[in-house]
């Protein structure tokens, strides 16, 4: 059986959740990436004549209180939001893997200390932590990423660590040790690939949480602040015009739902497949 055939067969077996999720998240990502370079209308050009226009062919999602095209702004906002989510996950996932792998595999006092810390942080409602963190660092996009990155790292540490603990005593890892494989290689060549499916699922969940947290904090006015467009701060702008221009709130709100739903369906699809492989 050729490699290609096997991949085809593998894809064929994926659940519908995987496909729907893949579709939704790809659309979101393409949209967001596109938003970096191009939007149908200017995101800043204001027009007093075009304030609060309902959705039409000219303005798919209508216009806002400055007469700006909401579709373009949602695109831009989605770029920001997705970028923040991505960077947060990169940050926390990266550190999570590093610290989780080391503490999980080696254990010991360091592990104890890290875990006490992780437990303490994990217990806290994450938005509160991020809030305190951002008060210390100051608001703005970079600090938001840093704060959320720090806040999300412990959960990644925990996941990665527990996987490493599960696998460090697996027979095949004992075996690798017996062969005299170097520790670094055991960690990242022998163990790491085995946790990738679990990890990719938690990365997606983390990504979703980061997006929700970003929008929540931007909504509270402590995340991404205008004039940077983000879906969260657009929503907080829009809330005041809920009666007059409900589409203004719906566009960014539903975009968040679309992105998050896409990734959670995708991760569910992956999880189901992983389950099949393990014979669950």
């Amino acid at each position: 059986m050729g490699k290609l055939q096997r991949i085809m067969k593998k894809l064929h077996n994926k659940s519908p959740y995987f496909w729907i999720g893949l579709f939704m998240s790809s659309v979101a990502v393409v949209w967001a990436v596109l938003g970096f370079f191009w939007t149908p209308c200017s995101t800043t050009a204001m027009s007093a004549a075009e304030r609060f226009q309902a959705p039409s062919w000219g303005h798919l999602f209508g216009t806002d209180n400055f007469g700006r095209d909401i579709f373009s702004r949602v695109m831009k906002g989605a770029s920001t939001t997705v970028l923040v989510g991505l960077l947060v996950v990169l940050f926390s996932g990266g550190f999570g893997v590093l610290i989780g792998a080391l503490t999980g595999y080696f254990g010991g006092i360091l592990d104890e200390l890290v875990m006490r810390f992780v437990d303490a942080v994990n217990g806290f409602p994450s938005i509160l932590l991020a809030l305190v963190m951002i008060s210390v660092l100051g608001s703005g996009r970079h600090n938001l990423i840093l704060s959320l990155g720090i806040v999300f790292t412990p959960s990644f540490i925990r996941i990665v660590r527990s996987e490493f603990i599960r696998l460090r005593d697996a027979d095949y890892i004992s075996r690798a040790r017996l062969m005299g494989v170097k520790k670094i290689r055991i960690l990242f060549v022998h163990i790491l690939p085995n946790i990738l499916s679990t990890f990719s699922v938690s990365v997606m969940i983390g990504f979703n949480n980061a997006i929700l947290a970003e929008s929540g904090m931007s909504y509270l006015g402590i995340g991404v602040l205008p004039p940077d467009a983000s879906l969260g701060n657009m929503l907080s702008d829009a809330q005041g015009y809920l009666m007059r221009a409900p589409w203004y709130a719906m566009a960014p709100g539903l975009t968040i739902v679309w992105i998050v739903l896409g990734f959670s369906l995708l991760s569910e699809g992956i999880r189901r497949n992983a389950g099949e492989v393990r014979g669950l």
Partner: protein, 525 residues
Amino acid sequence: MKEIAAKAMVKIEDLSVHFGETKAVEHVNLTVAPGEILGIVGESGSGKSVTALTLMGLVADSAKMISGRILFEDTVLAESGKPRDKALYRRFQGEQMTMVFQEPMTSLNPTKRVGAQVEEMLLLHTQLTREERYQKVCESFQAVGLKNPEKVYRAYPHQLSGGMRQRAMIAMATILHPKLIVADEPTTALDVTIQNQIIELLRKINQKEKNAMIFITHDLNLARRLCHRIAVMQNGHVVECRGTQEVFADPKEEYTRRLIEAVPSRMKPKIKIQRSNREPVAVVEHLNVYYHDGGGLLSRKSRQQVIRDADFTIYRGEVLGLVGESGCGKSTLSKALLGMNRDIEGEIRHFSTRPQMIFQDPYSSLNPCKTIEWLLTEPLRAAGEIDPAFKMSAADRRAEAHDMLRKVGLDEKYLDRRPSQLSGGQRQRISIGQALITKPGLVIADEPVSALDVTLQAQIMELMRRLQDEMHMAYLFISHDINVVYQMSDRIMVMKDGQIVEQGETEEIFRAPKDPYTQLLLQES
């Protein structure tokens, strides 16, 4: 035969059960009469459990009954083409027919008291008062040999030993004096000594209650000791169904014969006996091994001694067998030998390159996300980093891997497969290849065949002996099954509670065991 069939209580007629594409059971006909113990024997996947579960109405919903029907006395319990009648089944389940499962730990609800779980039988099927129920449960505990029934009544499953749990399960299955008891591998999870007690208990119950019993096992020896009749199953078919004596004396089917032959037994000649030249590969002197429990920032560490004063030598080219029941310290000893246990006293000296290990479970001993080629070259790569003698090019490593693959009896088409695409036996072959590819002086095999079916067991043992012959290394062969050890080993050590109670030449120990524990072991199996 006819006589029995005539008064048969349970009849399975032309039963076929499919799970989607998988044909689990094909045209099976079986009967059991009151007072009779029918053994269903087969390897894993032969359809024996599915047959029993279908009979009990417990088979998963995804199973389809393609043909046949099941009769309990005169009632048709199930018939192909009709949906399962759960209400009908419930009239029989528990009251008329009960089941004893393999894993007493997981088969009991971990969060309910054992007494309550047995009592549930009475709650469901009788109108007894609370006191009467309690009385009855305690009696039933006593009947299955549980001393201190009040205490057992209040206990949770995890507070009982494996044997006690299985007794409690049997108490549950017999409390309403059902007409049929199905026992699905009831002794497999238990140690040999306890295994026998449970077998005796089942026999006693059968004799006393005169109920029909179906005993499902993969172990022909067990079936032989307990059952009146034996049905041998293979790939969903009953290949042979006759009286126990007849089957063993004169197996009609080729498969049955193979099964009987594969069973490790002291009666058969050993695979091969090899005299060593007494050159040691590892010497262990006065070894004590400790095990640490807990030890967090806030909790105190507790240190337990697992191995006491172990003293032995392994010689080049020999197979040293290590026998003992679960928890006796066999695995700890092997780990200590491999240097995987830190807290040890005494001395371990190796006279060869690093020892390697073969594990029991072929599913967990191969890295699931790597290809077979990778798995076979990785030991060479790692060895190359430590020992310049093993330094070789990637192409050479591949060549070695291909070579090894052939040696363990697989061909090159497996190279780019992953472990999940192989069968259990194939995996264990790869596992052996991986351990041997760096030509270690000593290989520790920890129950390497226990997870395999008997026919495969024989093949793997044969392979191990053959490779040893070719590569001239020593095995430390660990098993709970004294018969397996007998077949493999030149010398034997018997271990109990962390101590080596006896060691010596295999034949000698089997002929004249000195230690009472060895005697017991030999007697029981």
